[in-house]
Symmetry: C2
């Protein structure tokens, strides 16, 4: 099934593609011109059959004995991952995490353009982070009419997560990026992504606690 | 295999347990005393057999027809997830994400205590975020002797990720929490957790791009 653009890319492949991209960027910075699968396999500690499968999704062929051209591979990965295209997002919750996301210039390099932010706290209304002014959610529908966004980023308190997701979906966003520890339910056809920092903490603590009793385990990559 | 404390908890269960905790906290705030599996199933849109399996890892029994006591369930989940115990961490990279993590009071509520931060940028040395002063990594070994940490949080630029992880492991940390988009390799026995914000972006963009051609898909929860 090596079609250049499958309907839904397998999640493990999608998780690894940004690794290849970050790796290829360091090769580019080191002025390397070509990279072989063997070297990628060694440097990233990934099975070469896994690499061949992952990169087969790109419409890019390596050259026998030379490998992939670094510049072409970087271009193909960035393009394939959607990082070349600007995706507009509204952010909800201008607390410590929310305001940090607004100021993270890395996100726009990866195709995410936060075009506005909302917070119910009137003390935060009018504050500006990274050039983005915080407004009251009452103005969301108007904002969506003037400058529609596809993605809603949830950085609100847990007990507001579902309510804010419902409001954003009703206003027309098609994807929810949930940074709260809550389970958020969305209707069919809406993309849901959880970046649960606390769930990762639980994983780390569990693996650390069990480590002495399971020395044969490889630590367990999460 | 319903032993109260398994050697390694399955990752899907570990991902869901914080959902139950966030949910139970909202019930506690609403002064609810009991919650049934049926209600959890309905409110979180999870299969009841899945809930029964997940909660079987806790040494807690629900009462027939009444369900779980909210306070006891919250206590058992917090305890089981390791959120009651303080886990010390050093943070590397005091950029926008790093400084936001230092200021996120939520982390300490969930058992993560960031006791120090390091950055090679001399302009950042001496700066204080959330009561934590940024130091040069040259002082890491001394810091580990005086106040050892178990976890290293990586919020450094991609091309420094492996080097900083190696340095932290050599200094004695037992877990790496990697916020960079890079693949970081660790020796056996060291816990590795990736919170790759950019990988999640790639997932969202891919699912959004493919949505119109796959209307029968449920959006795809990530």
């Amino acid at each position: 099934m090596n079609t250049p653009r499958p309907v839904i890319l397998p999640e493990p492949t999608l998780r690894r593609l940004p690794w290849y991209l970050a790796y290829v960027e360091t090769l580019r910075d080191a002025r390397e011109e070509y990279v072989s699968s063997t070297r990628i396999s060694k440097d990233l500690d990934l099975d070469s059959s896994c690499i061949a499968k992952d990169l087969s999704f790109l419409s890019l062929k390596g050259k026998t004995r030379i490998g992939y051209e670094v510049a072409a591979l970087e271009e193909a990965l960035t393009d394939f991952l959607g990082f070349h295209v600007s995706h507009k997002a509204y952010l909800f919750g201008a607390g410590s995490l929310g305001s940090a996301l607004m100021q993270d210039s890395g996100l726009s390099n990866y195709g995410l353009d936060i075009i506005g932010a909302f917070d119910t706290d009137s003390a935060k209304g009018g504050l500006t982070y990274g050039g983005i002014t915080v407004r009251h959610p009452d103005t969301l529908r108007e904002a969506m009419r003037e400058n529609p966004a596809t993605i809603a980023i949830l950085a609100v308190p847990s007990n507001k997560a579902q309510e804010v997701a419902d409001m954003a979906i009703a206003a027309g966003v098609r994807a929810i990026w949930n940074f709260t520890p809550c389970r958020v339910r969305v209707p069919e056809g809406v993309v849901m992504a959880n970046t649960s920092i606390y769930a990762h903490l639980a994983l780390i603590f569990n693996r650390l606690a069990e480590m002495p009793s399971a020395p044969e385990e490889k630590g367990g990559e999460i």
